[in-house]
Symmetry: C2
Subunit: 371 residues, 2 copies
Amino acid sequence: MNCTTQAIRIPAEPEGAYEVRIGSGLLAQALDAVAERFPGHRPFLVTDANVERSGHAAALIGESNTEGFVIDPPGEQSKTMRTVESIIAEMETKKFGRDTVIIALGGGTVGDMAGFAAAIFKRGVPCVQIPTTTVAQADSAIGGKTGVDSDLSKNAFGAFHHPAMVIVDCSTLKTLDDRHFRAGLVESIKHAMILDADYFDTIESNLDAILARDEDILCKLAQKNTAIKGRVVYEDPREKNLRRILNFGHTLGHAVETESDYSLLHGEAVAIGIMAACRIAEALDACSDEVGARACALFERLGLPLALPAEATLNALMDTMTRDKKAVGGLPRFILLDALGSVYAPADTFGVEVPPDILESVITRFDKIQD
Amino acid sequence: MNCTTQAIRIPAEPEGAYEVRIGSGLLAQALDAVAERFPGHRPFLVTDANVERSGHAAALIGESNTEGFVIDPPGEQSKTMRTVESIIAEMETKKFGRDTVIIALGGGTVGDMAGFAAAIFKRGVPCVQIPTTTVAQADSAIGGKTGVDSDLSKNAFGAFHHPAMVIVDCSTLKTLDDRHFRAGLVESIKHAMILDADYFDTIESNLDAILARDEDILCKLAQKNTAIKGRVVYEDPREKNLRRILNFGHTLGHAVETESDYSLLHGEAVAIGIMAACRIAEALDACSDEVGARACALFERLGLPLALPAEATLNALMDTMTRDKKAVGGLPRFILLDALGSVYAPADTFGVEVPPDILESVITRFDKIQD
């Protein structure tokens, strides 16, 4: 029989942009800012039990009767399709429609879940991100990655869905517990290590003020992180190549986080992943060992464990890494540096396949966490 | 405190296109066509138990060892997040990664589920649509709408995710049962009614050959449907305005389909919705009653019921319509015609808010299906 072909054209999309506001005490005006940006939309607040206890949700809601959903228990254990379905069921019950704007108030897991709910609710509604942790302010609130975990892997379900606006209120960090505050700084250090050696110096020399949660230095970090991440995701929003450098420390980091059953925080796991990446680069003669030494010293000043939990066996980690999204054809890929502030990119490609023997020797060099 | 703002830029996206192949006996070459379009990708076949029984899956797979997932039971009752999670769990277990290409072989529900799984698996992989029913070939395989139902509403979860390629094999319609074959033709009639009066004439005068499943006329219908739908979705891929005309008959149709608990087929429900839209337009003096009379005659030649199931009470239908995605601010909107092949568009806006009294009188005029 004859076969005919027709082309269905997909129209071009013009360049866009979204605003990131950075400052202190911004929560009280956040609803007004959202209403100004989305006139006629109904705001729906997604937050979690920790953020509610901290008083941030009340500061945002004020006297308004904003409806919403509180994720409980908070954290990665709730980052599942079940929770996203519950968020959407609540919106459906309250007859929210396509004129919804979701406001995500919280850390990385709240932003990931609320952003993913926004991406798939009635085929997409806008989401305003208001990150309240060091990791979310530095990294996850910007760039449009959303998703939830499956039983088998992290962010197995997800979508690219750019936020409609980001509000970074550095004063929300005051209530963050010390362990989360410190672990979240690893994403700032990651930004510095891959793209900006001067920024690394700034973090090193201001670490005491940062740990004292001085708002001026925290706002400076937020500005720097926003500029770096914004530049990378503009160049490569869908992670075809350059954006992969933001996964520095995350190949092993994600696996360690998963295998620890989330007893390690994301930043703590990424710090281990960054150390592994430094040692792999040393083994490949791609990078001097000074870079790993400076990173290690900074992580130790932050009090990060840098040791593997007992359940993160070599086999389990290798298996989890090959299921990772970054694995193409079954082999995990690592972002490596050739110097501080500079990513190793043979043939202009980021993401290096590492021989299993090198990988195994690097992993087995880590201490185990003692119970 | 100071508040600074930075803009995160989102890059422009160039115009794209995807190919629609239309012909007979195309299944045997489909895997080759996919491999040519996506070299180095691993195909993952999603189909359902009906399509498997019909032999189409075997015809596609041939001697290859293509892996996949069979949706069982078939149909709308499986169109849930549970099924999408099962599809993705199977891909994860088999270590499929970002280099996956999902092949959706089946009717509208298979295409919706497989397309949505492709949209959210590891933040998006390509999907090739191979529709095997009249409704999927005419409508749902093209245009990128994907999604699944919640307990409360149809397509509550979803994404716009354009297919990477569409293969329309008209010979697959030979195995379709008569009720599904006839109901699916309603989407072709819908295309004719909103945009192409000549096409309506063609369907009227060739209905006997169509019902005899003459492959030449079926291929002609596929070409016409592809051209019409392709034009509309190019103008408005995200359904901001023009694309809404494709929802002609669907505002009430979706509600009837839901309230019948899917005992009515999609096309049967949409035929009722089209008749309601015609009568609303008559009541508003927007359209002559000749249009509704011709549509009614054609639907009767197709043997469609055009009556409401007992459980589809007025209250239930009104409630479901206000939860529909097209409801903005709580009022359902209807696409209406002002003539055959021409959509009524006061102030260049498609989707008319209909006064509840008119809507109620139109709904109560329908017969009830007798048990």
